[in-house]
């Protein structure tokens, strides 16, 4: 019984399992380039006879997909930047400043992150109407900046807790103020972790559904997730349209995935190996 014989069954089993994971993506891609007539005739499992891109174009124009992409980029990008900034301010005070009662402050941030959004959604909806922020992208940016920063504070605080203190002490002796130490030393040294955090914040915010669904009702403000989810919920789409929608929804996620794959894996490793 050689290893060559025992080696391959496991590989084959895992490859089959992995195929099962990606088949839905492939089947969507295949059907997004079929014409309605072809789909009606051959069903979902046949290979496409040619590249029919009108379905994608029609869907793009119908939902003004460019605008949705722009909204998603704007919201997720702003949240990533702002939430990282807020996290590092908090974590600087907790991890390096070691403010009094920091354990409680930290616990408070952790709980805030675990809170179900359902317990915030109606008051947030109501309050944003009161202050005139309802149905603005700004409202969603503010809310998610705070929610993501809760997690960021939690993670960064423990990273900064291990920050080499000699560097800070040296800078302080050289006359650097707290603000300078933060900007000139802590931020540059922590840049890798901050990069990982902003990638996570960006993708998490991109994928959010409940709050954007409630807060962004007008077509011009909707994100990709909400626009697709609402269309699907109304069941207004035919099969070709559905596939066009699915493909256009999958593509940005795929791009992020390929672009950030190393960051994502490293991000998980950063925490786990530490």
């Amino acid at each position: 019984m050689t290893t060559a014989v025992r080696r391959y069954p496991v590989l084959v089993a895992l490859v089959i399992a992995a195929l099962f994971m990606v088949v839905p993506f492939l089947i969507v891609a295949v059907n997004a380039v079929k014409s309605p007539a072809e789909y009606a005739q051959n069903g979902p499992l046949s290979l496409p006879e040619g590249m029919y891109l009108d379905g994608l174009k029609d869907f793009w124009e119908r939902v003004d997909y460019g605008q949705k992409l722009f909204n998603s980029l704007l919201i997720s990008g702003s949240v990533a930047a702002l939430a990282v900034a807020l996290s590092i301010l908090n974590a600087y005070a907790i991890g390096i400043g070691r403010v009094r009662g920091r354990t409680w402050v930290l616990a408070f941030f952790v709980l805030a992150n675990m809170l179900p959004q359902e317990a915030l959604v109606y008051p947030v909806y109501y309050l944003s109407k009161e202050v005139g922020l309802y149905d603005t992208r700004l409202s969603v940016i503010i809310v998610f900046t705070v929610i993501q920063a809760a997690f960021g504070t939690y993670l960064l605080s423990s990273v900064l807790g291990q920050f080499p203190r000699e560097i800070i002490e040296a800078a302080r002796i050289d006359g650097a103020g707290k603000w300078q130490v933060l900007w000139r030393i802590v931020v540059p040294v922590s840049r890798p972790t901050l990069g990982v955090l902003s990638v996570f914040f960006f993708i998490w915010t991109w994928n959010e559904f409940l709050l954007p669904l409630v807060m962004l009702i007008s077509n011009d403000n909707q994100t990709v997730s909400v626009a697709l989810g609402v269309l699907q919920g109304q069941r207004l789409m035919d099969a070709t349209m559905t596939n066009a929608a699915a493909l256009l929804g999958v593509l940005p996620a795929l791009v992020f995935f390929l672009a950030f794959q190393r960051t994502l894996t490293r991000g998980i490793a950063v925490g786990a190996v530490k």
Binding site: R7, L45, R100, N207, T265
Partner: protein, 327 residues
């Protein structure tokens, strides 16, 4: 959702660091002036989380349609919840979601991670591992709305890919209305959620395995331990902290699940896939019974926070025990 694993060990080390600085005489640090840096964060949290959360809890003791003045009704909403069969059904479905989103992905993810790490990496190289891991992780980066679109089309009763596939391989009699049949819909949603969730534990466990000393495996192999014994006696105990975090995190995600239900079934057919978050959403925005919706989300919050506290407590205790064993 993805999360980095936090082991909380850093804090211990950090505390040690402080005693060192503090013990240096003649240099009292003005510690609390750092509190200014917390100001923006604390203010933002008050406005976006604390005040809305307290409002929600307050509203749960009132009758309110969202307009006009809320009318104090004490515990009436909670009493009504106790007798509401739909509410209990939604919580029962939550337990199914915990199985689909936490228990199954953790168990399967463990076996897959161990197989990839211990077997595939050794015999087929790290490139193969990276590609396979990427395939499993892919659904995790997808917005749940998109995953919902993909799956509701695949599971469609007519012309759905799954039914067509069954037909093509001669199992036409197995065709079902996967999402439309009240007896089946919950299981179909669970299947989709396993697909969505699997990549997260897998990637976390693989990262965790990265810090296990390879000599442990080599020694076990020399002693003649087979794959399963190594899995039980080395892999599982070594990445227990990761297992705790993943189980806790996924359970909370399962209790909060909303987008998938909204896109796949809208809680139907006939409430067969309703979950608390979707139930509270419809109560808020479709039935505009804001007080009742607030009571539902308050109960959900209490359960989640209790679970989180218990989970974090258990985790800290396990870690302390571990530290104690080591020293």
């Amino acid at each position: 959702m993805t999360v980095t694993v936090e082991r909380g060990r850093g804090q211990g080390r950090g505390r040690g660091g402080r005693t060192v600085t503090k013990s240096r005489p003649g240099r009292p640090r003005p510690r609390d002036s750092y509190a200014l840096f917390l100001l923006p964060g604390v203010l933002a949290f008050l406005a976006v989380i604390v005040v809305p959360f307290l409002m929600n809890t307050g509203v749960s003791f009132t009758e309110w349609q969202g307009v006009g003045t809320p009318e104090w009704s004490g515990l009436a909403n909670y009493r009504e919840l106790m007798d509401d069969a739909d509410f209990w059904a939604s919580f029962r479905h939550s337990l199914f979601m915990v199985v689909a989103m936490a228990a199954v992905p953790t168990a399967v993810g463990l076996v897959l991670a161990a197989a990839l790490f211990d077997h595939i990496a050794k015999h087929h190289g790290s490139k193969v591992v990276a590609v396979l891991r990427a395939c499993f992780y892919l659904p995790q980066v997808l917005p749940i709305a998109v995953a919902g679109i993909v799956w509701s089309w695949i599971l469609a009763p007519e012309n759905g890919s799954l039914n067509e596939l069954l037909d093509a391989v001669g199992l036409g009699s197995w065709q079902q209305d996967w999402l439309g049949d009240p007896d089946l819909a919950l299981w179909s949603v669970m299947g989709v959620m396993v697909w969505v969730q699997l990549g997260f534990p897998l990637v976390v466990f693989m990262a965790g395995l990265g810090r296990v000393d390879p000599q442990l495996y080599e020694a076990a192999e020399l002693d003649g331990a087979g794959w399963w014994r190594r899995f039980w006696h080395i892999t599982l105990p070594q990445i227990r902290p990761e297992i705790h975090v993943v189980l806790l995190w996924c359970t909370i995600a399962a209790l909060k699940v909303f987008g998938a239900v909204y896109v796949l079934t809208k809680g139907g057919p006939g409430g067969a896939t309703d979950v608390p978050s979707y139930f509270s959403f419809t109560t808020f925005f479709e039935k505009t019974q804001v007080g009742y919706g607030a009571a539902i989300s308050t109960v959900l919050t209490v359960i989640i926070l209790a679970l989180a506290l218990i989970g974090l407590g258990l985790q800290t205790r396990a870690e302390d025990a571990e530290e104690g064993l080591r020293t």
